[in-house]
Protein backbone atom coordinates (compact mmCIF):
# COMPACT_ATOMS: atom_id res chain seq x y z
CA UNK A 1 0.00 0.00 0.00
CA UNK A 2 1.11 3.48 -0.80
CA UNK A 3 0.75 6.31 1.69
CA UNK A 4 -0.42 9.68 0.40
CA UNK A 5 -1.55 12.71 2.35
CA UNK A 6 -5.23 13.42 2.60
CA UNK A 7 -5.13 16.36 0.16
CA UNK A 8 -3.70 14.19 -2.61
CA UNK A 9 -6.20 11.44 -1.89
CA UNK A 10 -9.10 13.89 -1.93
CA UNK A 11 -8.00 15.56 -5.18
CA UNK A 12 -7.60 12.22 -6.94
CA UNK A 13 -10.93 10.90 -5.66
CA UNK A 14 -12.73 14.08 -6.70
CA UNK A 15 -11.16 13.84 -10.16
CA UNK A 16 -12.45 10.28 -10.54
CA UNK A 17 -15.84 11.11 -9.07
CA UNK A 18 -16.41 14.20 -11.24
CA UNK A 19 -15.76 12.17 -14.37
CA UNK A 20 -18.97 10.21 -14.00
CA UNK A 21 -21.17 12.54 -11.90
CA UNK A 22 -21.09 10.65 -8.62
CA UNK A 23 -22.99 12.14 -5.65
CA UNK A 24 -19.78 12.08 -3.64
CA UNK A 25 -20.53 15.00 -1.27
CA UNK A 26 -23.76 15.02 0.67
CA UNK A 27 -25.25 17.39 3.23
CA UNK A 28 -28.06 16.29 5.51
CA UNK A 29 -29.85 18.83 7.68
CA UNK A 30 -31.21 16.59 10.43
CA UNK A 31 -33.29 19.33 12.03
CA UNK A 32 -33.77 23.07 11.89
CA UNK A 33 -34.51 23.24 15.62
CA UNK A 34 -31.80 24.92 17.67
CA UNK A 35 -31.40 26.08 21.28
CA UNK A 36 -29.88 29.35 20.06
CA UNK A 37 -31.70 32.23 18.39
CA UNK A 38 -28.89 33.77 16.36
CA UNK A 39 -29.79 37.00 14.62
CA UNK A 40 -28.03 36.03 11.38
CA UNK A 41 -29.25 32.44 10.99
CA UNK A 42 -30.93 31.46 7.74
CA UNK A 43 -32.96 28.50 8.94
CA UNK A 44 -33.21 28.04 12.73
CA UNK A 45 -36.47 27.13 14.47
CA UNK A 46 -37.22 27.01 18.21
CA UNK A 47 -36.49 23.81 20.13
CA UNK A 48 -40.13 23.82 21.20
CA UNK A 49 -41.43 23.71 17.62
CA UNK A 50 -43.28 20.43 17.86
CA UNK A 51 -44.66 20.68 14.32
CA UNK A 52 -41.11 20.95 12.99
CA UNK A 53 -40.06 17.98 15.11
CA UNK A 54 -42.96 15.83 13.91
CA UNK A 55 -42.20 16.65 10.27
CA UNK A 56 -38.58 15.52 10.45
CA UNK A 57 -37.42 12.29 8.85
CA UNK A 58 -37.59 9.36 11.25
CA UNK A 59 -34.55 7.31 12.19
CA UNK A 60 -35.75 4.55 9.86
CA UNK A 61 -36.15 7.01 6.98
CA UNK A 62 -32.65 8.32 7.62
CA UNK A 63 -31.29 4.76 7.52
CA UNK A 64 -32.95 4.09 4.18
CA UNK A 65 -31.57 7.31 2.71
CA UNK A 66 -28.10 6.59 4.11
CA UNK A 67 -28.23 3.12 2.52
CA UNK A 68 -29.17 4.67 -0.81
CA UNK A 69 -26.62 7.49 -0.87
CA UNK A 70 -23.85 5.07 0.10
CA UNK A 71 -24.88 2.69 -2.64
CA UNK A 72 -24.83 5.61 -5.12
CA UNK A 73 -21.23 6.52 -4.22
CA UNK A 74 -21.47 9.17 -1.52
CA UNK A 75 -18.19 9.32 0.42
CA UNK A 76 -18.16 12.67 2.26
CA UNK A 77 -21.22 13.47 4.34
CA UNK A 78 -21.94 16.62 6.33
CA UNK A 79 -24.52 16.58 9.12
CA UNK A 80 -25.80 20.05 9.92
CA UNK A 81 -28.87 21.82 11.26
CA UNK A 82 -30.33 23.76 13.07
CA UNK A 83 -28.36 22.13 15.81
CA UNK A 84 -27.68 18.47 15.09
CA UNK A 85 -27.74 17.44 18.76
CA UNK A 86 -31.20 18.97 19.13
CA UNK A 87 -32.41 15.61 17.84
CA UNK A 88 -32.47 13.08 20.65
CA UNK A 89 -31.63 10.30 18.22
CA UNK A 90 -28.88 12.12 16.35
CA UNK A 91 -26.15 9.82 17.64
CA UNK A 92 -28.12 6.83 16.35
CA UNK A 93 -28.36 8.40 12.88
CA UNK A 94 -24.69 9.38 13.01
CA UNK A 95 -23.55 5.92 14.12
CA UNK A 96 -25.55 4.26 11.37
CA UNK A 97 -23.95 6.61 8.83
CA UNK A 98 -20.49 5.83 10.23
CA UNK A 99 -21.15 2.12 9.92
CA UNK A 100 -21.74 2.65 6.19
CA UNK A 101 -18.15 3.87 5.70
CA UNK A 102 -18.99 7.54 5.13
CA UNK A 103 -16.44 10.23 6.02
CA UNK A 104 -18.53 12.45 8.25
CA UNK A 105 -18.21 16.10 9.18
CA UNK A 106 -20.36 17.54 11.96
CA UNK A 107 -21.41 21.19 12.12
CA UNK A 108 -22.55 22.12 15.62
CA UNK A 109 -22.65 25.08 17.98
CA UNK A 110 -21.27 22.84 20.71
CA UNK A 111 -23.73 23.99 23.37
CA UNK A 112 -25.44 20.60 23.74
CA UNK A 113 -22.18 18.64 23.96
CA UNK A 114 -21.91 16.28 26.92
CA UNK A 115 -19.14 13.94 28.12
CA UNK A 116 -21.29 11.00 26.96
CA UNK A 117 -21.65 12.38 23.42
CA UNK A 118 -17.96 13.22 23.27
CA UNK A 119 -17.04 9.70 24.43
CA UNK A 120 -19.28 8.24 21.73
CA UNK A 121 -17.48 10.37 19.14
CA UNK A 122 -14.17 8.99 20.35
CA UNK A 123 -15.46 5.47 19.72
CA UNK A 124 -16.97 6.42 16.35
CA UNK A 125 -14.53 9.12 15.31
CA UNK A 126 -15.84 11.69 12.82
CA UNK A 127 -13.77 12.96 9.93
CA UNK A 128 -14.11 16.53 11.23
CA UNK A 129 -16.10 18.61 13.70
CA UNK A 130 -16.65 22.33 13.19
CA UNK A 131 -18.01 24.46 16.01
CA UNK A 132 -19.25 27.95 15.25
CA UNK A 133 -18.05 30.42 17.85
CA UNK A 134 -20.17 33.54 17.84
CA UNK A 135 -17.91 35.79 19.90
CA UNK A 136 -14.78 35.76 22.01
CA UNK A 137 -16.54 37.34 24.98
CA UNK A 138 -19.67 36.17 26.75
CA UNK A 139 -21.34 39.53 26.10
CA UNK A 140 -20.83 39.48 22.34
CA UNK A 141 -21.54 35.77 21.95
CA UNK A 142 -24.82 35.98 23.82
CA UNK A 143 -25.85 39.22 22.13
CA UNK A 144 -25.76 37.29 18.88
CA UNK A 145 -27.22 34.00 20.10
CA UNK A 146 -29.81 35.62 22.32
CA UNK A 147 -29.44 32.90 24.96
CA UNK A 148 -27.91 33.59 28.41
CA UNK A 149 -25.48 30.85 29.41
CA UNK A 150 -24.85 29.73 25.84
CA UNK A 151 -21.27 31.04 25.80
CA UNK A 152 -20.20 28.90 28.76
CA UNK A 153 -21.90 25.86 27.26
CA UNK A 154 -20.12 26.38 23.94
CA UNK A 155 -16.71 26.73 25.61
CA UNK A 156 -17.44 23.61 27.66
CA UNK A 157 -18.35 21.77 24.45
CA UNK A 158 -15.07 22.83 22.87
CA UNK A 159 -13.17 21.61 25.94
CA UNK A 160 -14.94 18.26 25.97
CA UNK A 161 -13.92 17.60 22.37
CA UNK A 162 -10.37 18.85 22.76
CA UNK A 163 -9.77 16.83 25.93
CA UNK A 164 -10.53 13.77 23.81
CA UNK A 165 -8.34 14.89 20.92
CA UNK A 166 -11.23 14.88 18.48
CA UNK A 167 -10.65 16.57 15.09
CA UNK A 168 -12.07 19.99 15.93
CA UNK A 169 -11.85 23.34 14.22
CA UNK A 170 -13.64 26.60 14.95
CA UNK A 171 -15.26 29.11 12.64
CA UNK A 172 -17.51 32.11 12.77
CA UNK A 173 -19.72 34.26 10.66
CA UNK A 174 -18.65 37.88 10.79
CA UNK A 175 -21.61 40.18 11.52
CA UNK A 176 -22.02 43.67 12.93
CA UNK A 177 -22.33 42.28 16.46
CA UNK A 178 -19.05 40.33 16.56
CA UNK A 179 -16.79 41.85 13.90
CA UNK A 180 -14.62 43.57 16.52
CA UNK A 181 -13.77 40.16 18.01
CA UNK A 182 -12.96 38.24 14.82
CA UNK A 183 -9.19 38.38 15.32
CA UNK A 184 -9.52 37.53 19.00
CA UNK A 185 -11.52 34.46 18.05
CA UNK A 186 -8.86 33.53 15.52
CA UNK A 187 -6.08 33.94 18.08
CA UNK A 188 -8.04 31.96 20.68
CA UNK A 189 -8.56 29.08 18.24
CA UNK A 190 -5.12 28.99 16.67
CA UNK A 191 -2.85 30.05 19.51
CA UNK A 192 -4.66 29.09 22.70
CA UNK A 193 -6.37 25.92 21.50
CA UNK A 194 -4.16 24.92 18.58
CA UNK A 195 -7.07 24.31 16.21
CA UNK A 196 -7.98 25.74 12.82
CA UNK A 197 -10.15 28.81 12.42
CA UNK A 198 -11.98 30.37 9.49
CA UNK A 199 -14.60 33.04 9.06
CA UNK A 200 -16.92 34.31 6.40
CA UNK A 201 -18.97 37.47 6.13
CA UNK A 202 -21.24 35.99 3.48
CA UNK A 203 -24.78 35.49 4.69
CA UNK A 204 -28.21 35.29 3.17
CA UNK A 205 -31.84 35.99 4.00
CA UNK A 206 -33.75 33.23 5.78
CA UNK A 207 -35.02 30.37 3.65
CA UNK A 208 -38.57 31.29 4.75
CA UNK A 209 -37.94 34.56 2.82
CA UNK A 210 -37.51 36.73 5.92
CA UNK A 211 -34.81 39.34 5.36
CA UNK A 212 -34.14 39.65 9.11
CA UNK A 213 -30.55 38.28 9.03
CA UNK A 214 -29.53 41.15 6.77
CA UNK A 215 -29.99 43.57 9.69
CA UNK A 216 -26.67 42.32 11.13
CA UNK A 217 -24.84 41.86 7.84
CA UNK A 218 -21.58 43.76 7.44
CA UNK A 219 -21.50 46.60 4.95
CA UNK A 220 -19.39 45.91 1.86
CA UNK A 221 -16.59 48.12 3.27
CA UNK A 222 -16.68 46.36 6.66
CA UNK A 223 -16.48 43.01 4.92
CA UNK A 224 -13.54 43.98 2.69
CA UNK A 225 -11.81 45.76 5.58
CA UNK A 226 -11.67 42.41 7.42
CA UNK A 227 -9.99 40.90 4.36
CA UNK A 228 -7.46 43.71 4.14
CA UNK A 229 -6.55 43.41 7.82
CA UNK A 230 -5.01 40.02 7.16
CA UNK A 231 -2.31 39.79 4.44
CA UNK A 232 -2.68 35.99 4.40
CA UNK A 233 -6.37 36.34 3.68
CA UNK A 234 -5.70 38.81 0.87
CA UNK A 235 -3.15 36.45 -0.63
CA UNK A 236 -5.63 33.54 -0.44
CA UNK A 237 -8.32 35.64 -2.11
CA UNK A 238 -5.93 36.55 -4.92
CA UNK A 239 -4.96 32.93 -5.48
CA UNK A 240 -8.61 31.96 -5.48
CA UNK A 241 -9.42 34.69 -8.01
CA UNK A 242 -6.56 33.54 -10.22
CA UNK A 243 -7.74 29.95 -10.11
CA UNK A 244 -11.46 30.50 -10.48
CA UNK A 245 -11.68 33.92 -12.12
CA UNK A 246 -12.38 34.59 -15.76
CA UNK A 247 -15.25 33.43 -17.91
CA UNK A 248 -16.85 30.02 -17.55
CA UNK A 249 -14.31 27.74 -19.16
CA UNK A 250 -16.63 24.98 -20.29
CA UNK A 251 -18.38 26.40 -23.36
CA UNK A 252 -20.86 23.52 -23.56
CA UNK A 253 -22.19 24.52 -20.14
CA UNK A 254 -21.77 28.29 -20.37
CA UNK A 255 -25.50 28.80 -20.92
CA UNK A 256 -26.37 27.07 -17.64
CA UNK A 257 -27.17 28.99 -14.47
CA UNK A 258 -25.22 26.75 -12.08
CA UNK A 259 -21.44 26.68 -12.16
CA UNK A 260 -20.78 25.03 -8.80
CA UNK A 261 -20.55 21.37 -7.82
CA UNK A 262 -24.20 21.27 -6.71
CA UNK A 263 -26.03 18.52 -8.58
CA UNK A 264 -22.76 17.44 -10.23
CA UNK A 265 -21.02 15.89 -7.26
CA UNK A 266 -22.99 17.21 -4.33
CA UNK A 267 -26.51 17.33 -2.98
CA UNK A 268 -28.41 18.46 0.10
CA UNK A 269 -31.29 16.86 1.98
CA UNK A 270 -33.48 18.91 4.32
CA UNK A 271 -35.07 17.68 7.58
CA UNK A 272 -38.21 16.55 5.75
CA UNK A 273 -36.29 14.54 3.15
CA UNK A 274 -36.41 17.02 0.28
CA UNK A 275 -33.30 16.83 -1.86
CA UNK A 276 -31.91 19.93 -3.58
CA UNK A 277 -28.74 21.29 -5.14
CA UNK A 278 -27.62 22.85 -1.85
CA UNK A 279 -28.96 23.84 1.57
CA UNK A 280 -29.88 27.34 0.35
CA UNK A 281 -31.61 26.27 -2.84
CA UNK A 282 -35.28 25.43 -2.39
CA UNK A 283 -36.88 26.20 -5.73
CA UNK A 284 -36.25 22.70 -7.09
CA UNK A 285 -36.65 19.90 -4.58
CA UNK A 286 -37.20 16.18 -4.87
CA UNK A 287 -39.14 14.40 -2.13
CA UNK A 288 -37.16 11.37 -0.95
CA UNK A 289 -40.23 10.24 0.99
CA UNK A 290 -41.93 9.68 -2.36
CA UNK A 291 -39.06 8.37 -4.47
CA UNK A 292 -35.60 6.86 -4.36
CA UNK A 293 -32.31 8.73 -4.08
CA UNK A 294 -31.08 7.33 -7.41
CA UNK A 295 -34.22 8.55 -9.19
CA UNK A 296 -33.84 11.98 -7.58
CA UNK A 297 -30.13 12.20 -8.32
CA UNK A 298 -30.08 10.74 -11.84
CA UNK A 299 -33.16 12.47 -13.19
CA UNK A 300 -34.55 15.30 -11.13
CA UNK A 301 -31.35 16.89 -9.82
CA UNK A 302 -29.53 16.34 -13.09
CA UNK A 303 -32.22 18.36 -14.89
CA UNK A 304 -32.22 21.06 -12.21
CA UNK A 305 -28.43 21.33 -12.48
CA UNK A 306 -28.63 21.79 -16.27
CA UNK A 307 -31.13 24.63 -16.07
CA UNK A 308 -30.47 27.19 -18.80
CA UNK A 309 -30.17 30.93 -18.44
CA UNK A 310 -33.31 32.88 -19.19
CA UNK A 311 -31.94 36.42 -19.07
CA UNK A 312 -28.74 38.26 -19.92
CA UNK A 313 -27.44 39.95 -16.80
CA UNK A 314 -24.17 41.65 -15.90
CA UNK A 315 -23.22 38.48 -13.99
CA UNK A 316 -23.03 36.34 -17.12
CA UNK A 317 -19.77 37.75 -18.44
CA UNK A 318 -18.42 38.92 -15.11
CA UNK A 319 -14.84 37.72 -14.61
CA UNK A 320 -14.60 38.48 -10.89
CA UNK A 321 -17.22 35.94 -9.88
CA UNK A 322 -14.62 34.33 -7.64
CA UNK A 323 -14.74 37.48 -5.48
CA UNK A 324 -18.50 37.27 -5.19
CA UNK A 325 -20.97 34.99 -3.44
CA UNK A 326 -23.54 35.22 -6.20
CA UNK A 327 -25.17 31.95 -7.15
CA UNK A 328 -28.71 30.93 -8.15
CA UNK A 329 -29.59 30.11 -4.53
CA UNK A 330 -28.48 33.51 -3.27
CA UNK A 331 -30.30 35.14 -6.16
CA UNK A 332 -33.50 33.27 -5.26
CA UNK A 333 -33.29 34.28 -1.62
CA UNK A 334 -32.27 37.89 -2.02
CA UNK A 335 -33.64 39.01 -5.37
CA UNK A 336 -36.44 36.49 -5.78
CA UNK A 337 -34.88 35.19 -9.00
CA UNK A 338 -32.00 32.77 -9.52
CA UNK A 339 -30.36 34.93 -12.17
CA UNK A 340 -31.08 38.45 -10.93
CA UNK A 341 -27.89 40.10 -9.62
CA UNK A 342 -27.71 40.73 -5.88
CA UNK A 343 -26.59 44.34 -5.47
CA UNK A 344 -24.86 43.75 -2.13
CA UNK A 345 -22.74 40.89 -3.53
CA UNK A 346 -21.89 42.94 -6.60
CA UNK A 347 -20.65 45.80 -4.42
CA UNK A 348 -18.53 43.47 -2.29
CA UNK A 349 -16.97 41.82 -5.34
CA UNK A 350 -16.06 45.11 -7.04
CA UNK A 351 -14.79 46.70 -3.83
CA UNK A 352 -12.71 43.61 -3.10
CA UNK A 353 -11.20 43.59 -6.59
CA UNK A 354 -10.47 47.34 -6.45
CA UNK A 355 -8.94 47.10 -2.98
CA UNK A 356 -6.74 44.17 -3.99
CA UNK A 357 -5.68 45.96 -7.18
CA UNK A 358 -7.21 43.35 -9.46
CA UNK A 359 -8.44 44.17 -12.95
CA UNK A 360 -12.18 44.14 -13.57
CA UNK A 361 -12.83 43.53 -17.28
CA UNK A 362 -16.04 45.13 -18.65
CA UNK A 363 -18.99 42.78 -18.38
CA UNK A 364 -22.02 44.66 -19.58
CA UNK A 365 -24.10 47.33 -17.93
CA UNK A 366 -22.50 47.38 -14.48
CA UNK A 367 -22.77 50.49 -12.31
CA UNK A 368 -19.68 49.47 -10.32
CA UNK A 369 -17.38 49.22 -13.35
CA UNK A 370 -15.51 52.03 -15.08
CA UNK A 371 -18.04 54.40 -16.67
CA UNK A 372 -20.80 53.17 -14.36
CA UNK A 373 -22.77 55.46 -12.03
CA UNK A 374 -21.25 54.11 -8.83
CA UNK A 375 -17.74 53.37 -10.08
CA UNK A 376 -16.27 56.50 -8.46
CA UNK A 377 -17.86 55.56 -5.16
CA UNK A 378 -16.25 52.10 -5.25
CA UNK A 379 -12.85 53.56 -6.15
CA UNK A 380 -13.10 56.11 -3.30
CA UNK A 381 -14.07 53.40 -0.84
CA UNK A 382 -11.20 51.18 -1.96
CA UNK A 383 -8.70 54.06 -1.63
CA UNK A 384 -10.01 54.97 1.77
CA UNK A 385 -9.82 51.34 2.97
CA UNK A 386 -6.26 50.96 1.70
CA UNK A 387 -5.16 54.21 3.37
CA UNK A 388 -6.89 53.15 6.58
CA UNK A 389 -4.98 49.85 6.60
CA UNK A 390 -1.67 51.44 5.53
CA UNK A 391 -2.16 53.97 8.31
CA UNK A 392 -1.94 51.19 10.86
CA UNK A 393 -5.52 50.07 11.24
CA UNK A 394 -4.97 46.36 11.46
CA UNK A 395 -6.27 43.49 13.53
CA UNK A 396 -7.43 44.58 16.93
CA UNK A 397 -6.94 42.29 19.90
CA UNK A 398 -8.18 42.52 23.45
CA UNK A 399 -6.94 40.83 26.59
CA UNK A 400 -9.21 38.44 28.37
CA UNK A 401 -9.17 36.75 31.71
CA UNK A 402 -9.13 32.96 31.60
CA UNK A 403 -12.56 31.46 31.24
CA UNK A 404 -13.63 29.22 34.09
CA UNK A 405 -16.49 26.85 33.42
CA UNK A 406 -17.71 24.37 35.98
CA UNK A 407 -20.35 21.66 35.76
CA UNK A 408 -22.31 23.49 38.44
CA UNK A 409 -22.41 26.68 36.43
CA UNK A 410 -23.42 24.76 33.34
CA UNK A 411 -26.33 23.13 35.12
CA UNK A 412 -27.52 26.39 36.57
CA UNK A 413 -27.46 28.15 33.25
CA UNK A 414 -29.04 25.39 31.18
CA UNK A 415 -31.54 26.57 28.63
CA UNK A 416 -35.00 25.35 29.54
CA UNK A 417 -35.78 24.58 25.92
CA UNK A 418 -32.95 22.03 25.68
CA UNK A 419 -35.11 19.24 27.02
CA UNK A 420 -33.18 16.56 25.19
CA UNK A 421 -29.97 17.08 27.19
Amino acid sequence: METVNYGEFSREMHRLLMRDRYPSNGTIEVTRRCPLTCAHCYNNLPMSDSAARRSELTFEEHCRILDEITEAGCLWLLFTGGEIFARKDFLDIYTYAKSKGLLITLFTNGTLMTPEIADHLVEWRPFAIEITLYGRTRETYERLTGIPGSFDRCIRGIELLLERKLPLSLKTVAVTINRHEIWDMKRYAEEELGVGFKFDALMSPRIDCSQSPLAVRLTPQESVELDLQDPVRVSEWKKFAEKFGGPVNTPEHSDEIYHCGGGLNSFAIDPQGRMSICVLSHFDTYDLRQGSFSEGWNNFLNKARRKKMTMMTKCVKCEIKAMCGMCPANGELESGHAEKPVDYLCQVAHLRAQSFGLAVPPHGDCEYCEGGQRYDHIVELADSLRKHIEGGASKTFSRYLPIVSTEKKLTQSSCSSCSCH
Binding site: M1, M13, Y22, G73, S99, R125
Partner: protein
Protein backbone atom coordinates in the same frame (compact mmCIF):
# COMPACT_ATOMS: atom_id res chain seq x y z
CA UNK B 1 7.56 -17.33 11.86
CA UNK B 2 8.76 -18.96 8.65
CA UNK B 3 7.34 -18.06 5.22
CA UNK B 4 5.92 -21.60 5.08
CA UNK B 5 4.00 -21.06 8.33
CA UNK B 6 2.65 -17.73 7.10
CA UNK B 7 1.53 -19.22 3.78
CA UNK B 8 -0.39 -21.96 5.56
CA UNK B 9 -2.15 -19.44 7.81
CA UNK B 10 -5.61 -17.98 7.35
CA UNK B 11 -6.47 -14.34 8.12
CA UNK B 12 -9.64 -12.45 9.01
CA UNK B 13 -10.48 -8.82 8.43
CA UNK B 14 -10.96 -6.55 11.42
CA UNK B 15 -14.67 -6.28 12.11
CA UNK B 16 -14.85 -2.54 12.52
CA UNK B 17 -14.01 -1.44 9.06
CA UNK B 18 -16.02 -1.00 5.89
CA UNK B 19 -14.92 -1.71 2.34
CA UNK B 20 -16.25 0.81 -0.20
CA UNK B 21 -16.02 0.48 -3.98
CA UNK B 22 -16.38 3.94 -5.54
CA UNK B 23 -15.48 5.04 -9.07
CA UNK B 24 -13.35 1.94 -9.61
CA UNK B 25 -11.41 2.48 -6.38
CA UNK B 26 -11.45 0.21 -3.35
CA UNK B 27 -11.38 2.08 -0.06
CA UNK B 28 -11.04 0.53 3.37
CA UNK B 29 -12.56 2.86 5.94
CA UNK B 30 -12.02 2.19 9.66
CA UNK B 31 -15.26 3.12 11.39
CA UNK B 32 -14.98 2.32 15.06
CA UNK B 33 -12.70 1.83 18.02
CA UNK B 34 -9.02 1.18 17.61
CA UNK B 35 -9.09 -0.60 14.26
CA UNK B 36 -6.38 0.71 11.93
CA UNK B 37 -5.74 4.41 12.14
CA UNK B 38 -9.11 6.13 12.35
CA UNK B 39 -7.67 9.19 10.63
CA UNK B 40 -6.53 7.11 7.66
CA UNK B 41 -8.32 5.81 4.63
CA UNK B 42 -6.74 2.87 2.87
CA UNK B 43 -6.96 2.40 -0.89
CA UNK B 44 -6.17 -0.76 -2.81
CA UNK B 45 -5.20 -1.23 -6.43
CA UNK B 46 -6.77 -3.91 -8.63
CA UNK B 47 -4.56 -6.77 -7.40
CA UNK B 48 -4.82 -5.60 -3.81
CA UNK B 49 -8.61 -5.51 -4.16
CA UNK B 50 -8.65 -9.10 -5.43
CA UNK B 51 -6.45 -10.23 -2.55
CA UNK B 52 -8.69 -8.34 -0.10
CA UNK B 53 -11.75 -10.15 -1.52
CA UNK B 54 -10.07 -13.52 -0.93
CA UNK B 55 -9.44 -12.87 2.77
CA UNK B 56 -12.28 -14.75 4.39
CA UNK B 57 -10.87 -16.39 7.51
CA UNK B 58 -10.51 -19.87 6.06
CA UNK B 59 -8.52 -19.50 2.85
CA UNK B 60 -4.79 -20.11 3.49
CA UNK B 61 -2.43 -17.56 2.03
CA UNK B 62 -0.97 -20.22 -0.26
CA UNK B 63 -4.38 -20.53 -1.96
CA UNK B 64 -4.53 -16.76 -2.37
CA UNK B 65 -1.05 -16.84 -3.94
CA UNK B 66 -2.24 -19.54 -6.37
CA UNK B 67 -5.31 -17.50 -7.31
CA UNK B 68 -3.26 -14.36 -7.97
CA UNK B 69 -0.69 -16.36 -9.95
CA UNK B 70 -3.31 -17.81 -12.27
CA UNK B 71 -5.58 -14.76 -12.57
CA UNK B 72 -2.80 -12.26 -13.28
CA UNK B 73 -0.39 -14.61 -15.12
CA UNK B 74 2.60 -13.88 -12.90
CA UNK B 75 5.21 -16.28 -11.55
CA UNK B 76 4.69 -18.00 -8.22
CA UNK B 77 7.64 -16.04 -6.86
CA UNK B 78 6.07 -12.69 -7.89
CA UNK B 79 2.66 -13.65 -6.56
CA UNK B 80 4.13 -14.82 -3.24
CA UNK B 81 6.15 -11.62 -2.85
CA UNK B 82 3.14 -9.38 -3.59
CA UNK B 83 0.76 -11.29 -1.35
CA UNK B 84 3.19 -11.44 1.58
CA UNK B 85 4.02 -7.75 1.23
CA UNK B 86 0.37 -6.73 1.24
CA UNK B 87 -0.47 -9.02 4.18
CA UNK B 88 2.41 -7.57 6.16
CA UNK B 89 1.13 -4.03 5.51
CA UNK B 90 -2.49 -4.92 6.28
CA UNK B 91 -1.48 -6.65 9.50
CA UNK B 92 0.74 -3.75 10.60
CA UNK B 93 -2.15 -1.35 9.94
CA UNK B 94 -4.43 -3.51 12.11
CA UNK B 95 -6.79 -4.24 9.23
CA UNK B 96 -6.37 -8.05 9.38
CA UNK B 97 -5.29 -10.59 11.96
CA UNK B 98 -4.45 -14.28 11.95
CA UNK B 99 -7.59 -16.41 12.26
CA UNK B 100 -7.95 -18.66 15.28
CA UNK B 101 -8.84 -22.31 14.65
CA UNK B 102 -12.47 -21.73 15.60
CA UNK B 103 -12.75 -19.00 12.98
CA UNK B 104 -11.44 -21.26 10.22
Amino acid sequence: MSEMDVLSSCFVKAEELVTRHIAGETLIVPVKGQVGDLDSIYTLNEVGTRIWQLIDGDTPLSNIVNAIQSEYEVTEQEATRDVLELFDTLQSAGLIRRATKSEG
